[in-house]
Structures are given as C-alpha cells and as structure tokens.
C-alpha cells in the first residue's frame, strides 16, 4: 500500500503506467457505447407508457450517475492531495471537474427534454432535479475557484478544500431537498416508482452506464497525461521524452 502511494508520488510513473492502461479503456468505451447505442436506440422495445421518448434514459441515467460519482472522486482526490501531497491526485481532480460539469449538464438537458413529452414541462422543482442543478453550481464553483488563483498550488488547494466541503454537503442537500419537496405536496411524479424494466430495456442501460464510466476513466487518464506535460514541462524526463518522440 505504502509502496503504491509512493509510486503515485511520481508523475513519471503515472505517465508510463497510464500509457498502457489508456488504450484499454478507450477500446472498452468505444465498444460499450456503440453496442449500447445501437441496442438502446434501435432494438430495445418502446415503453408501453412513454413510447419511444423513453430511449432518452440511455443517456440520461449514465450521465446522472457519472455526474455524482465524479464529484465524489474529485473530493477524494482532493483529500489525497492535501494529506499526502501527491501532485498527481490534484492533476486528476483538475481534469475531472470540467467533465463532471459536462455530465451534469447532459443529465439536466436530457432530463429537461424528456420532461416535455412525459410531464408536459421543461422543468419543475422536483427534489432530484433541484439537487442536480445545485450540483452543477458546485462544479462551477470548484472550476471558477481554481482558475481564480494566479498560483497553481494555491488554486489546487483551494479547490480541494471546496470539493471536500461540497461533498459533505451533497448528502445534506439531497436529504433536505427530498424533505422539502415532500413537505409541500405529494410526489406527483416519482422517477423510480415505475414498473420494473424488462431485461431488454435494462441490459442496454447497464451497457451504457459501463460505457460512460469507461469513457470517464479513459478521458481522465488522457487529460491527466496532458496535465503532467503541462506542469512538468521543464523536467528533464519530459524533455527527453520530447526528444524521443521527435
């Protein structure tokens, strides 16, 4: 365990190991997303209530899952960075934030679009929708705070603190929003309270979820490598690497 942490301290080691892992995840992501897309769009049966608009689920749910997972990963990376001073952890957190915000946006957008045929409105102040919107603001806050510092080190540490404070608050926000909604009116639409899905509908969803996660890992590896290049540009090993690739 300690040996592993010590290895993580070295961006060079991460650069090398991620070079091997990255293609694996890109292949997995491409395959899963392709299969999931074809299956979900063309082969899964239409929903007996919602008809074909139901196919939005295959982008909506994976994006919503990812949006939440990424914030937690970001906070964990921030903690690792603050406690063990592992720079790679901070680089990972840096590159994850925009992807997390993008996934939150996708979940919001696809949900809003889906709302029109099912609920007859783009938006309603439902508990889950509201907490997703707040998650988007938390992401924007972390990104803006990091960018606002002129010293990279300070920006990193500030963003880590904010991500950790935010992640403590996410369950509180979720809980309070649930409570608030049920306070005022009974749940008109519950997202979960529907008949269990058939296998035909469920399998492509699982595949899409796995595909999104692979995509997330692959992209994070790739952009972390870029971030390493950016931050270590004047290290000897980077220069040697540049000369090799010449």
């Amino acid at each position: 365990m300690w040996a592993f942490i010590n290895k993580l301290r070295s961006p060079k080691w991460f650069y090398a190991i991620s070079a091997k892992l990255q293609p694996l995840f890109w292949v997995a992501a491409t395959l899963l997303l392709l299969v999931g897309t074809v299956w979900g769009l063309a082969f899964a049966p239409a929903d007996y209530q919602q008809g074909n608009s139901f196919r939005i689920i295959y982008v909506h749910v994976p994006a919503a899952f990812l949006a939440q997972s990424i914030f937690v990963s970001m906070a964990v990376s921030g903690l690792v960075f603050m406690v063990w001073k592992i720079k790679v952890a901070d680089m990972v957190a840096t590159v994850m934030a925009p992807l997390g915000a993008a996934m939150t946006f996708v979940a919001l957008f696809s949900g809003a679009v889906w709302g029109v045929p099912t609920w007859g409105t783009w938006w309603m102040w439902d508990a889950r929708l509201t907490s997703m919107l707040i998650l988007l603001f938390l992401y924007l806050g972390v990104i803006a705070l990091r960018g606002a510092f002129s010293s990279r080190d300070s920006g990193s540490r500030a963003a880590s603190v904010l991500a950790m404070v935010g992640v403590i608050n996410i369950p509180i926000i979720k809980y309070s929003v649930d409570w608030w909604y049920t306070l005022h009116q009974p749940a008109t639409f519950t997202i979960t309270g529907r008949a269990a899905m058939t296998m035909d509908m469920w399998a492509p969803l699982l595949i899409m979820v796995l595909g999104f996660y692979s995509f997330f890992i692959a992209l994070t590896l790739m952009r972390t490598r870029s971030e390493i290049l950016r931050r270590e540009a004047n290290k000897r090993w980077v220069r040697e690497l540049a000369e090799e690739t010449n």
Partner: protein
C-alpha cells in the same frame, strides 16, 4: 537564550525560473543577516518561506535542530515578522493596534508600556488618531513599535526602512544592532545602505 534557524537545500521556482536553488542558511543568536539582491531576485519570497507563510518550495527548515513541522508552535512564539504591508488597521488608533498585537501573543500588556513604545518611535501625540489618517511613514512606525513592545527573539523584516525618514532610519538601525547584541537575531532585506557592524552578515541572491 540561544537559537538557530537553519535551511537546507532550499529551492524555489517561479514561472519556470529558479529564484534560488540549493540554498543553505544558518541564522544564529547575535546576528543580523541581510538578504541582498536586485529587484525580483526573490528576497521577499525567501523571507516568506523562512517565516512559514509560503509552502510552495523544496528543501528543509529546522528550528533549533528540530524540523520546522514539529517546532512550528515554538518558532511562532519567538518570531516577529513585518512584511511589505505594515499590518496596521486604519480604523483603529495606534494604541488599539498595539493592544491587539500584544494580546495575540497571549499577553495583556499595559497601556503605559504601549504609550512608551509609541513615544519611542516618535508618535507621541498621535496615540489616539485613527491610523488611517497618519502619513505613510507614520503608519509604518506604528508597526515598528512592536519591535520595542513584544519580546521576540527572531525578527524577520522585509524592507523595514520603507517610507521612514533619515533620523528614523538611524534609530531603527541602532535598534537592530542592539537586539542582535543582546542575543536576538534579525533577518532583514533593504535597499538602504546599512553601516558596517561586526554583527552584520550578508547573503546575496540573484
């Protein structure tokens, strides 16, 4: 009293440029160490690192032989730092400013002592004027009154002579020498010419 601040293999990088690298420092009781160098050579940065405000550096710091991490509390109890900004609250009078600084180190202090310290820096008569209405030099003198008032062994002073008039500079210089001779130590940057003294040592940056 005897104390010592050591730095080993200190290095600091800004904008892909090493301000200093492999710097070894030993600062002992009885010394005035003057950091020299042209503008932008990293004097302020070095002082901030040594006083524990910047953490973005490489190398090790030791206080009386202990690593700084463990000795930090003890180190802070002995440190008096004056930076580019004087740390004088514009809305408070010089007396109130000093009272807060004394309390920060856990002492209550006494009003006459504070008045005496202000008189010593030439601010007699300005004790109760809001500091914001003092001139640039007078504001810095309020900060300098802390040197007389609080008993700290290690003084870290970044350009303490800024905006101080000629008599003030001479008096302050004498105070630094006296502090060193009574066993304290002083770390100072300034572009003023200081008079030679056996306790003065120079370190060149840049």
């Amino acid at each position: 009293m005897s104390l010592c601040l050591q730095a080993r293999q200190l290095a600091c990088e800004r904008d892909d440029r090493w301000l200093f690298e492999g710097l070894d420092l030993d600062i002992q009781s009885g010394e005035i160490v003057r950091i020299e160098g042209p503008n932008g050579s990293g004097k302020t940065t070095l002082l901030k690192i040594l006083s524990g405000q910047l953490t973005d550096y490489r190398g090790e710091l030791y206080w009386n032989g202990e690593p700084m991490r463990q000795a930090r509390e003890h180190f802070l109890a002995n440190l008096l730092y004056l930076g580019h900004a004087p740390g004088v609250k514009a809305g408070l009078s010089p007396l109130e400013n000093l009272a807060w600084y004394q309390a920060l180190s856990g002492e209550k202090g006494s009003e006459p002592a504070r008045e005496a310290a202000l008189a010593a820096v030439g601010l007699a008569g300005f004790e109760d004027v809001p500091a914001g209405q003092l001139s640039a030099g007078q504001q810095r003198r309020v900060a300098l009154a802390r040197l007389t008032l609080t008993q700290r062994a290690l003084w870290v002073l970044d350009e303490p002579f800024t905006a101080i008039d000629r008599q003030g500079v001479a008096a302050l210089e004498a105070q630094l020498v006296a502090h060193a001779q009574s066993g304290g130590c002083v770390l100072v940057t300034t572009h003023h010419a200081l008079t030679e003294s056996p306790v003065l040592r120079r370190i060149q940056l840049g």
